[in-house]
Symmetry: D2
Subunit: 349 residues, 4 copies
């Protein structure tokens, strides 16, 4: 049994890690920390865990955490970077579910996250933890940057087209919608049921932190800069992300390569060995609920008119968009089967 | 045109007063105060009011408010009592939508609200603003205590039975359910959509402030102490209260007076001239949405078995349970027609 | 008082017409028809109307309807076209809330609606009832085709840009999201709360009936064919449409005309006299709830990067997207003030 | 591996059985039937099962089902009784998730379910499948009647008090609230999101089929007739039942036995070895979400005033209220560990 620590386990990604890890056969949760809840039983805060977790929240100390084989940081941005160097030094592996290690360009990171970075050298070392892109790198990584929720849905949705060089890379549009758990478990007027329920809105149209993260990944895949318009919206549901992706095929394209059935084949081929990407049959419209509670990303590809491709991609923002993908990375880093603990069907209804 | 002030207009009862008053033909809103938002345009905080309210939030000053004919306090408990004496002195009428003037027994009030009362003499003068009970007193009142949301639904549902002396007064059960706007527009983890959505729970089973308020009114109606068990629950909807009321008919009762059709007649007779109480046909199950956005209380009375009466009573907690009933009281206090500004059908769907 | 008839009043657009018309000062509802509910009281089906409508559903007969000054058809597609010729002959004006008279090209209509048209000549005469485009034509029309819900939100959002000739007309993307009341009040597994709640999906990506309707209007405004990609999605809310519109400014454009503040001015100027279009301040993200229950369309215009414009447009699909716009048209057709009966603030929360 | 059949797997209890059984280590699903969907892949109807179920719906034939070790009937009331005799004859065990075998008094059953019973003798043999009451009988049963959802929540909530003889058995009130999945996956106007969303109502106050089922069980526990008032309500959520139970302690009771801490002890003692009943700490208010997706029943006991006990009991209506309890019964009937396949924490958020 591998020993696992979770730092900052009072948020939604933290409790989701707990929900998934308590039935994982190869790990035991040995430390669950929360600076502001030291001494509180974990299952007093989260009654769904009664009978599954017999721990109290403890103070995050490097000494204690260093006894773990792997530590998850489910903390606000800017926390992990302060502790990761010491943990790596001690030989403990780390997965950061926040954004501290996602963006390679430190200046870009500082601009979007509004602080100086505490350990730029470790950013350089960190592996971007999307197994469908970087499986082998994740296996040997000491430190993994777990991708953002929107970036997971958008990147998996666009990867085949970008790699195949079929589309106009200057004009990619990602219209994305997220369930409200993505906003976290903070007291906030805007995410009250009375405010966000029975309503829908866009936000951050002028710029959102996930835009540079997605652009970085797509540019690496394309080996050139991409032009990405990214507009997030807030859904009045708890879990789920839906990305509607609009791309133009190259106008001088040999039409055969980009008709709808060729695109379908391209997607099926790209993902045929991926345990957590499901290319839906032609004509499908995946619902967010079809992945609720599961680590699956479901994708459908459409070509409604000449040159216009529309890709639909759905994930559960707390699973494949956060805790589930983190556990997938953990499995790889600890030499376990990648799917261990993650093979349950989604919840329906 | 009567001049109206609203103190503390940034909460849900405040914005609901604004929504209803902007189309009221006989009043103009002259002051809208919020200590923490001085200078902000009202319609910048509440875009639904764009084009309807051309005011900024101002600081609550007695001098300014004293220019109003009537002032609503839509403030937290304990605020109105500090300002009401000066306003009454200045000749301005007051309706308090909080609890400062609802409970006549000052010791009981202090116990439940956790503070000393600033003006017990005015509590004695204040009229409990439920027109179906105290219409004439409201007309001549300087200060009205607007009833709580639960007390409105429960009291209107039980009044006919209590007055008629048909039931066992020692064993009244009010199982009540409220939409989450009743918890107000405060940042709070418990009322986040991610916490309160897709869930349901009871709260305050050991005791809730509305229990003594309801018990006070029912005891006055019965002219004796009543025994009331009151259990509130939180509904994952924005607006609406549903009270399910369980009472036992007296066992030595002449059966004729309490069979189902006699009870139906009793309710219809009691409320036949009431503009805002609607006794539904026999066998009805009123939905909360049937009163959403309206000042109506809809009631159905059932007798599923010998001696057991079940009354269903629904209101919109922000209208008949708060702002609408307050405007009904305002109309009476200002000598206007009681229903002015309040006669719109509920929203469906 | 003008006499009004409503054919097919058991659906959501029908009951919404009733909700809005019962407080309209200049009309009286004289006929409410429903073939399958003859003899049922209207307020037995819709308890929100208790006290407001003292009518039964009647059989739709031309003789009876011909006594009305104006008749609304709130029927499924293909019904109005069978009855409109006789009503116009009898001198009764008609507003069709379905699609029978929206599309001028009869072949296109037949393709999308799957039937032959019963009166193509009247299609030619019918005025597309969007007052912001066709106010004068509506005033003198005998027959008005009330626009679809999505077309209303999208067209109002794009009109200024299309008319000004600032954008690439070959690459317009409308990513639209609708509350579920748009699917109507039919028994259907897909729109059950258990199926559509807590979920989100796209639908009809291969083609939707509102695409040719929008394209027709935009092409008229542009005086040339436009290329429009239209993707609708289903929101787990009852009311509200949000359109996120992506357009590219012309690359050879004089930058001054299309910087963000010029675009803001263009929108404000275009709509400055419109009672039901509200251009929000720069940087805004209108929420669907900001128009819930109201006839307002709120719009914000953004330019997140060079050449990329994003317009956000929200309406209540049952009001400005159906019954409210129909009443706006009715007011114009009957010589009443355009805003009569429609000036209430939206519901919040 | 035991072979399992599911008859009528297109409803919510059917798909929930599938969701839970696909990860059960000791059984394989060999037959999934649906008369109206023969030949359709199961995962085409329920995409959450893609990758987990490689079967088509087949016609329900006794020959095929008789090859199973155990067959679940997830069919409408009145279906199972027609097929069960032949299956038992063939040596196949049966669990009926509908009501055909729940009520021992055939006349009572016929009155409430509106049909004649096809096999009254098997009703006599059938075991009421609530392991907390009948564990040993279930182990040896050929045919198990899986309890109703409301009866499960109510019975587990009241069992300790009824058995201990502490309460007035003539005046038990069960105010119950159910998520809408309890109404099934049938096209129905009343359960559309537009109708049932953002609303709340009671139903069947005059009488509901679960009243005689609960009364039968409580009367057996008490060894005398009980008087039960049962009022169900419809919650605008997908999953979850909350029962609020009101009982009076006997007035001549030795107070010591029924003070709050004694009641707490009674509950804890009664359920201390039960894997799926969780007695919460004193003062708790269990939320329905604390058991969402899990087979747990969580209970809290309160005594807000003299003689008045209030018990709160929550379950997931599709798990402990249907498919989960059925699998618990299956485990017992097949000699497996009772908890196999059912030990996952609830979903939060």
């Amino acid at each position: 049994m591998k020993k696992i620590g979770i730092v900052g386990a009072t948020g939604y990604t933290g409790v989701e890690l707990l929900r998934l890890l308590v039935t994982h056969p190869d790990v035991e949760i040995s430390h669950v920390t929360s600076r502001s809840n030291v001494g509180t039983r974990v299952d007093a805060m989260f009654p769904n865990l009664r009978g599954f977790v017999d721990l109290e929240f403890s103070d995050p100390s490097i000494e204690a955490l260093a006894q773990c084989d792997l530590v998850f940081f489910a903390t606000p941005n800017g926390v992990a970077m302060k502790h990761v160097p010491a943990l790596l030094e001690a030989g403990t592996k780390v997965i950061d579910l926040a954004a501290d290690f996602r963006i390679k360009d430190i200046d870009v990171w500082s601009k979007w996250y509004g602080m100086e970075h505490a350990c730029p050298d470790i950013v350089a070392e960190a592996v971007y933890g999307m197994p469908e892109l970087n499986r082998d790198l994740v296996k040997s990584a000491r430190i993994v940057a777990n991708p953002g929720c929107y970036p997971t849905a958008v990147t998996l949705g666009l990867k085949p087209l970008v790699e195949a060089g079929l589309i106009d890379l200057n004009n990619i549009i990602a219209d994305t919608k997220s369930g409200i758990s993505g906003a976290g478990r903070q007291a906030n007027v805007g995410t009250l049921l009375s405010e966000a329920g029975e309503s829908f809105k866009a936000y951050a149209v002028q710029g959102h932190r996930h835009q540079p993260e997605i652009a970085q990944t797509l540019s690496l895949l394309a080996d050139t800069q991409v032009g990405l318009t990214f507009v997030p919206h807030l859904l009045p549901i708890i879990r789920g992300i839906h990305a509607t992706l609009y791309v133009r095929t190259k106008t001088n394209d040999n039409r055969q390569n980009s008709d709808e059935s060729s695109l379908q084949s391209l997607y099926e081929k790209t993902y045929k060995n991926e345990p957590f990407v499901d290319v839906m049959p032609p004509g499908s419209h995946p619902e967010t609920r079809s992945v609720k509670t599961s680590n699956m990303c479901r994708i459908a590809v459409h070509k409604p008119s000449d040159n216009q491709v529309v890709v639909l991609s759905v994930i559960d923002n707390l699973v494949k968009g956060a805790a589930g993908q983190a556990i997938q990375n953990m499995n790889l880093m600890l030499g376990l089967d990648e799917t261990t603990g993650l093979m349950q069907p989604a919840l329906l209804p």
